[in-house]
């Protein structure tokens, strides 16, 4: 059974909150991850993506490849916000 977007978004929000020492309620789907007004620095972002890689493998049964050049060509849209990353991970699940 696939995991819902809401559940994946909750995971991403909690992970970002933990990495940035914020309350989870202060992080929402519009919270920016890259570009102006981002709340994570490069080290936090790397750790978020490593965590997401494991989460995707273990909970979603899919592969989240963020280290290849092709993945990075989409990174700007995928990593724009908590919501866009959660949507991308959710959609990686096998049909």
């Amino acid at each position: 059974m696939s995991v819902s977007y809401d559940e994946v978004e909750k995971y991403v929000r909690e992970e970002v909150a933990s990495l940035t020492n914020r309350d989870a309620t202060a992080v929402g789907p519009e919270t920016v991850l890259v570009g102006t007004n981002r709340i994570v620095d490069s080290a936090d972002l790397v750790m978020l993506l490593l965590s997401a890689e494991e989460y995707t493998r273990e909970k979603l049964g899919a592969v989240f490849d963020w280290t290849s050049d092709s993945a990075m060509s989409e990174a700007r849209s995928v990593l724009r916000s908590v919501g866009s990353l959660a949507r991308h991970l959710t959609d990686l699940q096998p049909a």
Partner: protein, 435 residues
Amino acid sequence: MRILEGLGSRNAGNHEPFLIGPGGTLSFSDVSRSAGDHAGDLSRVRPGDVVALIGDFDGPTIAAMLRLLDAGVILMPLTAGTRADHDYFFEAGRAEWVIDGGRLERRNVAGVASVPLIDELKARRHPGIIFFSSGTTGRPKAILHDFNNFLARYAVPRPPLRALNFLLFDHAGGINTMLHTMFNGGVVIVPSERTPETIGADMAAHAVELLPATPTFLRMMLLSGVFDSTAFPALRVVTYGTERMDQGTLDRLCARLPTVDFRQTYGLSELGVFQVRSKARDSLWMGIGGKGIETRVVDGVLQIRSENRMLGYMNAPSPFEDGWYDTGDIVEQDGDFVKVVGRAHEILNVGGLKILPGEIERVALLEPDVLRAKAYGVANPITGQHIEVICESRPGAELDRRRLMAHFRAHLQKQLSPHRVIIGEVPVSHRFKQK
């Protein structure tokens, strides 16, 4: 110099065993006798032939080794533990003969091109010895020495000691321990197994005075409790080398064995073993010297020029520039002393910030439940590299990733803290070094 004759004259009248091992004892007169065991076979070997000798520090192997070197061959000492790589070693070192289990067999080398370094050694009419690098940066390299140069270091007599030969028969350090002890009238104790408990039992039973070991193995001995449960009244010196020691382990060893002198060794198969003096028993600072040895530090990296350096690699370009060898060891300097802090090719670069894996591993070992740690870089498109570290727990302890992450963050700046902590086993090589 003929080695058997030299050893015989130095030890004339000495009928005491110079080697004690699981297979029994061995004296110089035994060696002279057992050297004849292979007489029929070994007479087929010609000076300058490359002979792979598979064995350990036992009577027949040592006798064959000395006899072969006296016959002017180029010896390739190997152990059964690396059998999976033997075909590669034979090819890389151009072995023409293999002695395994006491049987001599000729390899078919028809059509194999001659090697200029071997031709050079043959022209000198000198015996040779081939060691293999550990191959951390590619396949192992075949390191060819003129054995007469290798022997030169034993010309100066040193105090005889009862030494446990921890290092293996295929390691320059193991051969050095054996020859050093033989030439100086000491006794070599060959352990029956290389486990902390067995080594401890052998040390106590045979009143071992000198224990040469790797930092990895000394950590295993500390962990096993051998130093708590067994007294070693004869033990005078522990030497450590072949990989980087950390200050925490050295401090624990010094506290556990307060009357023992701890000395760092430093050697490279390409250059031989040097005379090294530690600044103090609890210090990682060392002075490197000896006859024909020069050192310098270029861009933080230690370079050494040695009169007794290898002739060259048989399967790779020469690493020497005007005789200088770049050790790849990053060192700090304090007058004549240096301290190795990492390896040049291992520098991690995270978004332009640089750190050595050794620094990460040092911090990992500050956590009491961490037995071993291995840090490395992984390429990524955001920061260029990020840092991952494998932490192995002490038996009975449970490591928690989040707690370890917090531990690293408390000791390292954020950007250089490991980005991923993996709880798992850190591989250890057959030479008891971290892979």
